[in-house]
Amino acid sequence: MLSSWRTQLLITRIALYVASALIVVWSVAPFLWQVSTSFQEDRLLSAPTPSFLPWPGTLDHFRNIFVEKEFHLYIVNSAIVAGLTTLFCLAIGGAAAFALARLRVYYRFGILALILSVSMFPQIAIVAPLYLAASALGLMNTYTILVIIYLSLGLPLVIWVLFGYFQTIPREIDEAAIIDGAGPLRLMISVILPMSLPGFVTTGLLAFIMAWNEFMFALAFTSGVDRQTIPVGIANFTNLYYVPWGDLAAASVVVTLPLVLLVLGFQRWIIQGLTQGAVKE
């Protein structure tokens, strides 16, 4: 009885750890299996009892995808498209969010709602009209069309998140800068932007991942290894007679790696970005 609250505390703590462990397993296990698959020989992959550990291991699948299937070309395409998308998203979204949050704009919430409504279209419904528009403009099978489409998909999110971020910066900072002689552009570049770096990093990553992983539009608007992005490239692996599970897994691991590295690299800013505004500074 004496230490019943201690026991309770202990139980609570154990329950918390078990629950966290379950969630981690739930989200990470499929990925780990994917990693394991990428190192297993085809023979093992088609065995009646699948094995979780890649033993004996092989690097055949990685060799396959780069040597035979020219996977690096898809990676270059994806990097260009996702990189440009991120860049434009941040530049345009940052300027738009700054104007909405800080300048005298009438109907700002109407405008924000309108921007949000853009992202509510079911994407499959706009593929066909966009296809016609793109082919009329001669933009089929170009980086340009993909960047334009990903921009329109990514901007609402970027504008909303950055708008929220800018709102947390005290007005007095703007006013101090205005009295110091800053115009709107100078205010944005020298004051608001450096103060919002975590917000920019977070939204930039989200935009990058969105463009990096997008499949449907990429499939519809590109038609060759010179322009197709990674998800389309991976889909190309499968042919009529054979699903190369090992190669698919190897490709998935290769394309996930940059994302994991990006997130780890920017971890400090992301945590700051996702928790900003939680406490009064």
């Binding site: 005290p170 205005i178 009295i179 110091d180 002689g181 100078r186």
Partner: protein
């Protein structure tokens, strides 16, 4: 350095007027404090001088030039904000030099100005720090440094000490007063703290509900409040205000029936309702005084004692005595009034002046 004039300045949001035609002359080198309760419009007034709020009517004139349509950066003013508003990603030196950078002052000259200002404020050792590495007082000093590097015509302070704790506030108050003596620049300072107003100002403007109640040097404001609002607002503890009726030539009868002598006969008819204002230090314990009451609380502040007394009709008053008078809760006491601390106000709340007053 420059004089500032407000000429029937008004501010309206839509059809809702918050500043109702304010006229105020601020001489070159003056330290004017705008003081008033929160929401009275004093900050709005300051922001209109700064150019952060548009001017709905009238004129703001700085150094002889009408500033209504001049953007803040061309008004040659500097402002210190309540929450410092430092740029968190810049060092102290960069914070102070931001305005110089924007106006393309040569680097060597800017560095020299920053160093000179840092010297004045004792920030020399902190120039490479970031705001987050500074204490509240240091941050406020940086905010002032950012203002002085520019050598502006007018300094504007918007409740600069409200975020500091009591000890630091007192210290910074002294520093601001010294800064004003050193620089001699016109300063306009907004606060709701009447102690700050009394100690810093060469001239206080009491603002209430978008109007000026009285503009005067601190001591004059204390000794000759023009109306009940100023009488209540200036002075701590507050002036005791008692309703009374004129009785006889130069006497007034209070609510409890006691009669007090006035210094002269009043321009109002006998029986007129007036308000008698008595500063707490003008209430004196005296065995044969005209007022009677019971002690309800004695607050010993060390050098001073505040004695709370309920008069015989229950009206509470506060008496401020030097030292520690021997009174206990429940004691019956008699009080007299020092005529120097006695003020009379007519039914509209305006001061009734006594001879010798202007």
């Amino acid at each position: 350095m420059a004089p500032v004039s407000l000429r029937s300045v008004t501010k309206a949001y839509g059809s809702f007027e918050v500043i109702h035609g304010i006229d105020l002359e601020i001489e070159d080198g003056a330290f004017v404090v705008l003081v008033g309760p929160s929401g009275c419009g004093k900050s709005t007034l300051l922001r209109m001088i700064a150019g952060l709020e548009t001017i709905s009517g009238g004129e703001v004139v700085i150094d002889g030039e009408v500033m209504n349509d001049v953007p803040p950066k061309h008004r040659d003013i500097a402002m210190v904000f309540q929450n410092y508003a430092l740029y968190p990603h810049m060092t102290v030196a960069q914070n102070m030099g931001f305005s110089l950078r924007l106006t393309k002052v040569p680097q060597a000259e800017a560095a020299e100005k920053i160093r000179a200002s840092a010297d004045i404020l004792g920030l020399t050792d902190l120039l490479d720090r970031y705001p987050r590495q500074l204490s509240g007082g240091q941050r406020q000093r940086v905010a002032m440094g950012r203002a002085i590097v520019r050598n502006p015509k007018v300094f504007l302070f918007d409740e600069p000490l409200s975020n500091l704790d009591a000890a630091l506030r007192m210290q910074m108050r002294v520093e601001i007063a010294e800064l004003h003596q050193k620089l001699g620049t016109t300063m306009i300072y907004v606060t709701h703290d009447q102690v700050e107003a009394m100690t810093l100002a060469t001239k206080i403007a009491v603002v209430n509900k978008g109007r000026l109640e009285q503009v005067a040097p601190p001591v004059r404001l204390y000794e000759r409040p023009q109306n009940l609002f100023v009488a209540r607002f200036i002075g701590a503890p507050q002036m005791n205000i008692l309703p009374a009726r004129l009785a006889g030539a130069a006497e007034a009868r209070l609510g409890d029936g006691s009669v007090i002598a006035l210094r002269r006969s009043m321009p109002l008819g006998e029986g007129s309702g007036v308000s008698v204002g008595i500063r707490p230090e003008a209430l004196l314990l005296s065995e044969d005084g005209p007022l009677g009451g019971r002690v309800t609380l004695a607050e010993h502040l060390g050098g001073l004692t505040l004695v709370h007394i309920a008069l015989t009709d229950g009206t509470p008053v506060v008496l401020q005595a030097v030292g520690a008078p021997t009174v206990a809760v429940g004691d019956l006491v008699r009080l007299r009034i020092d005529p120097a601390g006695l003020h009379l106000f007519d039914p509209e709340g305006r001061r009734i002046s006594t001879p010798g007053e202007s």
